[in-house]
Symmetry: C2
Subunit: 193 residues, 2 copies
DNA sequence: CTACGTGAGGACAGCCACTGTCATGAGCAC
DNA sequence: GTGCTCATGACAGTGGCTGTCCTCACGTAG
């Protein structure tokens, strides 16, 4: 056995989520998180750039997953079809750990700083998707706008998923949003439905 | 004349932008901004919620302008046409004070915290646009996705406008992005152009 | 077995963003 | 002039975050 308990990072993540849920994000000093994890404040900041980042450890992996899905899409797929595949993959990750995701999202939605951090993670995802599309030979503007649209769809569908509680699973919600998105361009679409 | 110099808020905004440009955002303590404006640090925080917000005083007005444009769009306009009108209005504001906008954007792009704040302002704009569309009788999902798409277009077109230096004005860039967006839904669009 | 390097973590001092609280004093109403 | 208002000043305090040096189990070489 090592000098220290293993998985310091994971312990910090768990302690932080617990405390953010119990007391709220703002009412939780970093020192308390570290203490619950059996570490010091200084060590917290060796593992995470700041107090927010401890909630976003998985965003890098999610991004890689989505990029991989775009790259793996058949060569005949349109850009929109490629990012649809990416979001489908992402949906799988969310639905696997539904409870954790909901708990985490509740904390994020309750605090503006955390929402800011979430938004920049989504912007990073958009940039990564655009890169992946460019790799497929998609033109610059099309790549950027497809990626932005995909993240827009993800935001709306995910929001619905959270709101609906134990309603429909995420994947059909994504599909519905992509359908509506395609409808927007239709000539004369007044969108009253 | 009052006891104090007038327009404390405006002086703080100007001093902040100057110092952020001269030294960078992180290297500028709030006390220095206040000093240049002839005020104290405490007074800075009476006018702005935090050190970032001093750069975003105009975002509320921009949001109102866009919402007004959506509301003023003819009843026959599609949701996409309504938000196009809104972004056209916004483009006018940006182009009026091109130099200020560019300087400000340079500061924002150089700092992650400021980019986060910008993103949440854009998310707020998106929510306001969705509200304005709902007021027109547009369905929930269509309103949300149209608003997200509009902000996506704004991000891409504005980024291009910044990158192109003294190239095309903003309005045609917006139009081009909306064109590409409509193309995405086309059957078989591979987007290689 | 000893010696040494490595690396995660602790101890501590300090900067600065931000807040709570009370004091100040010109302008204004009467 | 008396008293109220209210933008600002003064000052102390909390907490996020950093720089720096110290500690000490572990692995490895010899």
């Amino acid at each position: 056995m090592g000098r220290w308990e293993p998985n310091a990072r994971g312990r910090l993540e768990q302690a932080a989520l617990e405390l953010y849920v119990e007391r709220g994000y703002e009412q939780t000093p970093v020192a308390d998180i570290a203490q619950r994890a059996g570490l010091t404040e200084r060590t917290f900041f060796r593992h995470f750039a700041d107090k927010r980042e401890v909630l976003f450890g998985g965003s890098g992996r999610l991004e890689e997953l989505c990029v991989g899905a775009v790259a793996a899409a058949p060569a005949t797929a349109t850009p929109l079809e490629a990012v649809t595949a990416a979001l489908d993959t992402a949906a799988g990750v969310f639905e696997e750990r539904g409870d954790l995701v909901r708990q985490r999202q509740g904390v994020i939605d309750a605090n503006t700083e955390l929402r800011e951090r979430e938004l920049i993670k989504l912007a990073s995802l958009s940039a990564a998707l655009a890169d992946a599309l460019r790799e497929r030979g998609v033109g610059e503007l099309t790549a950027l706008l497809t990626a932005e649209s995909a993240v827009g769809v993800l935001k709306v569908a995910f929001g619905r998923w959270m709101d609906e509680g134990q309603g429909r699973p995420l994947r059909p919600l994504l599909a519905e949003c992509f359908d509506v998105l395609r409808t927007l361009s239709a000539r004369g679409a007044v969108g009253a439905g």
